[in-house]
């Protein structure tokens, strides 16, 4: 898996944003991880533990928000949450498969807590 590389990008993004605000220390990094992003939150935390030393985030918490996968059914013109971990998007109302995934691929740094 590539969580280590992702964590390096995450710390880079966080340091850049924190510096821009004139902060010295990052106390927490809040990230959003989609159900279909392929990122395993536990692996992200493990990688963060290894990568944060010597950075502005050396003592930071990592806060992960898990974003459920949501697809859109064109027949019913409504969104629905995927009820399985296979990424199968079957509309629960009309049983039509949907290729229109609206949410669930996220891997974002949303915000930081700094000092």
């Amino acid at each position: 898996m590539h969580e280590f590389g992702l964590v390096i990008s995450m710390i880079d993004l966080a340091e850049e944003a924190a510096r821009k605000e004139g902060a010295d220390v990052i106390e927490a990094i809040h990230v959003e991880i989609g159900a279909l992003s392929g990122v395993v939150p536990e692996a992200l935390e493990f990688a963060f533990g290894g990568a944060r030393a010597g950075t502005m985030a050396a003592t930071a918490r990592l806060e992960v928000t898990y974003i459920p996968a949501i697809a859109y059914c064109a027949t019913c013109q409504s969104e629905f949450e995927l009820d399985n971990r296979f990424g199968i998007a079957m509309c629960p109302t009309c049983d039509t498969p949907s290729a229109d995934l609206r949410q669930g691929r996220e891997m974002h740094v949303s915000h930081l807590e700094v000092a």
């Binding site: 990688a47 974003i67 949303s110």
Partner: protein
């Protein structure tokens, strides 16, 4: 090395994580893929004149075999080049070269997928302006390559008859994002007891509407439809 990280409840509510009262909050709102996506966009601009395919599959599904045969059959009238990613060795690039196309090997070492920057460096060794089709063979892996945009036009996910029909259900992301799915090794489908209906059903469930090409890179069966698809998409890109 890894010291334990203080976390609160992971996989919390969809309403977001708690911020410590009184903390100074800085909004970021950036993807962890920001850097890669930027390089991929630059690649895409550089690939303006040719059709670019990114081929992904498990190790050994037959990516290189498919490319060898595709190169041989397209070479009559199209200029094709290949970039091949592998953890080790340049065997695949040598095979492609023998089939008659310029090829560049990217040895990724421990990295289990190609990134846009690796592709940017590799295509520096090719004459992009003189190309019709550029094929990128990704590292054999069904998980990691899914997240990394390389700047391709089409993502092609390969599945072979020896792998089990439920691969698409186990690795949904890489099938969901595919622009085409190739089922390879149909020559041995019967011998290995491949359940074609189940496989097609799994692809249709995870990736409805995606075209599927059933072929054998070994015997050439089914290659025509696949090659026609590539030609069609090249024509469409060139308007």
């Amino acid at each position: 090395m890894a010291d334990p990280v203080a976390t609160r409840d992971v996989r919390v509510s969809p309403h977001g994580t708690a911020v410590t009262p009184g903390a100074r909050v800085v909004q970021v709102q950036k993807s962890l893929m920001t850097h890669n996506d930027g390089v991929a966009a630059a690649n895409r601009a550089a690939f303006e004149g040719c059709l670019v395919l990114n081929i992904v599959s498990s190790p050994g599904s037959g990516k290189t075999a498919l490319l060898e045969r595709s190169v041989r059959e397209l070479a009559g009238d199209l200029r094709v080049a290949v970039v091949v990613g592998d953890l080790e060795t340049d065997n695949d690039a040598i095979r492609i070269h023998a089939a008659g196309a310029p090829s560049v090997q990217i040895v990724t070492g421990t990295v289990c997928h190609l990134e846009a920057e690796m592709v940017a460096r590799a295509v520096d060794q090719l004459d992009l302006a003189g190309l019709d089709v550029l094929v990128i063979e990704n590292v054999g892996n069904l998980v990691c390559p899914a997240s990394w945009d390389l700047g391709e036009d089409l993502r092609v996910t390969l599945l072979s008859t020896t792998e089990g029909e439920d691969k698409p259900l186990k690795y949904p992301r890489i099938f969901k994002d595919a622009d085409a799915v190739v089922i390879n090794k149909v020559d041995i489908a019967e011998a290995v007891g491949f359940d074609r209906e189940r496989a097609l059903d799994a692809v249709a469930k995870v990736s409805p509407g995606t075209p599927v090409f059933e072929l054998s890179a070994r015997t050439g069966e089914g290659m025509d439809a696949w090659l026609a698809f590539v030609r069609e998409r090249l024509a469409a890109k060139r308007g």
